[in-house]
């Protein structure tokens, strides 16, 4: 077994069960959602204690895989594989060799603001890829509201600096201005990519900078899906929207403090096609604890939403330990728990 930080540890079957129960209870209390039933916890215990490294689901229970930042996993130097490979080669390899159900393109500086000035060049490559690929091809980036602030080279004063000075109203105004720019930039990039033939847009780690970023993203989803007619997949950044502004609402619902099933409802209402909940891994807890914790949130999402739910299963989210080389035994167990207990529509 492993900890949330990836260290190998030994756990008894009873310890695994009690950790799962603790994780479930904490998630249930935080988000005010039902916990898992006894039989569902039994299922997760069985998954955790299977004797093989890799575990799987029975034939017919397989789900769709959508990706974020995939092209960069092959080519990204210093953080990823660093293989000298073009986008066209990455797409072809993904669909023919790796059996991906979908693929996505993006750029190394993987946020919408830096994509905007090079969107035409990015679209050119996507257009090339669409000529010879068969699987759905998305274009993805992070909303990443932080890059709109002066602290990271942007235009608007940093709301954190303003808050430290007690200038709360100014901090809110800075976030609203940055949010407006972000909505504009996401919509611009989406329009260019759709003209190039993209099948959908992917918003990655949505809400990372708090409620203002989520607000901007919801506005953009609405614009992209309803005005441009482009499907949108939305991957979130954490299980709760942080209240950096606290007074922003969407369709009358305050955004600060929303849990995954509440986030998903608004994303669905905005017009997205797929919702991807994220639950941050607690590195001080065990892997079974983190899986129990995450499955409780995600199960509620699947029950509440009419659109497909593709749970984020990567480094540091939804039970996966916070390590760059994800252990196969953890990835397969977390995936199996999400598919068989939470009944997710994809990963």
């Amino acid at each position: 077994m492993r900890t949330g930080s990836g260290l190998l540890i030994k756990m008894t079957r009873e310890h695994i069960r009690s950790d799962i129960e603790d994780g479930v209870k904490e998630a249930s209390q935080k988000a005010h959602v039902p916990g898992l039933s006894g039989s569902e916890i039994d299922q997760i215990v069985e998954i955790m204690t299977e004797r093989t490294t890799l575990v799987g689901v029975e034939p017919g229970r397989e789900v769709v895989l959508t990706t974020d930042g995939s092209y960069m996993k092959f080519t990204g130097i210093s953080r990823y594989a660093g293989i000298p490979m073009s986008k066209e080669q990455a797409v072809w390899t993904s669909e023919r060799v790796l059996g991906f159900d979908t693929m996505d393109l993006g750029t190394t500086d993987y946020s919408f603001k830096p994509v905007k000035p090079i969107a035409i060049d990015e679209a050119h490559q996507l257009e090339n890829c669409q000529l010879f690929s068969i699987v759905p091809l998305l274009y993805g980036a992070m909303p990443n509201l932080g890059v709109y602030y002066q602290s990271l080279g942007g235009k608007w004063p940093s709301p954190v600096d303003l808050m430290k000075q007690g200038k709360i109203a100014d901090a809110r105004t800075a976030q609203e201005n940055a949010a407006r720019d972000l909505t504009r930039d996401i919509t611009y990039v989406a329009r260019i990519m759709y003209q190039a033939g993209a099948d959908a847009l992917n918003l990655d780690t949505t809400g990372a900078a708090g409620d203002a970023e989520f607000y901007a993203s919801l506005q953009a989803i609405q614009s992209v899906s309803k005005e441009i007619g482009m499907p949108v997949e939305v991957g979130m950044s954490g299980e709760m929207i942080q209240g950096m502004h606290l007074e922003l609402t969407y369709k009358g619902k305050r955004l600060a403090g929303l849990w995954p099933h509440e986030q998903g409802k608004l994303v669905q209402e905005a017009g997205a096609s797929i919702f991807g909940p994220s639950v941050n891994t607690r590195i001080g807890k065990s892997f079974p604890w983190n899986v129990g914790f995450s499955v409780t949130f995600v199960k509620k999402c699947v029950e509440e939403l009419a659109i497909p739910v593709h749970v984020n299963l990567g480094m540091g989210v939804c039970g996966i330990p916070m390590v760059e080389t994800v252990p196969v035994e953890c990835a397969s167990r977390a995936a199996k728990a999400m598919i068989t207990v939470a009944d997710v529509d994809g990963i």
């Binding site: 034939p59 789900v63 769709v64 060799v97 991906f100 669409q130 033939g197 099948d199 482009m230 096609s273």
Partner: protein, 101 residues
């Protein structure tokens, strides 16, 4: 779901375009391809089916549809409105011949 090895790309399209949950998306694709769910997850049967329908698969035999040609056939067969297919048909002035326009 195995992508082109089975029908993962088709089920993904049903989710993205039609917002179908996984069980409905699989049923939709199965109905369009006139197969059952067991066949859909069988790489061997799906290779033969995808060759017969000429909608592309993970291998690349000479003469079979690939890329855009495969997607045009997928769009017609599964009643998907595939963005790049629509644009291609518009560009080539063939849009009147396709139900995807």
């Amino acid at each position: 779901m195995g992508g082109l090895r089975t029908a993962g790309d088709l089920v993904a399209r049903a989710q993205i375009e039609k917002k179908l949950k996984i069980h409905d998306a699989k049923s939709y694709v199965a109905q369009k391809l006139s197969i059952d769910l067991e066949t859909m997850t069988d790489e061997c049967k799906m290779k033969e089916l995808r060759e017969r329908l000429d909608i592309g698969h993970a291998l690349s035999p000479l003469g079979y549809a690939k890329g855009l040609a495969a997607k045009i056939r997928i769009a017609q067969l599964c009643d998907f409105k595939i963005n790049c297919v629509t644009k291609f048909l518009e560009k080539t002035k063939l849009s009147g011949a396709s139900p995807t326009s």
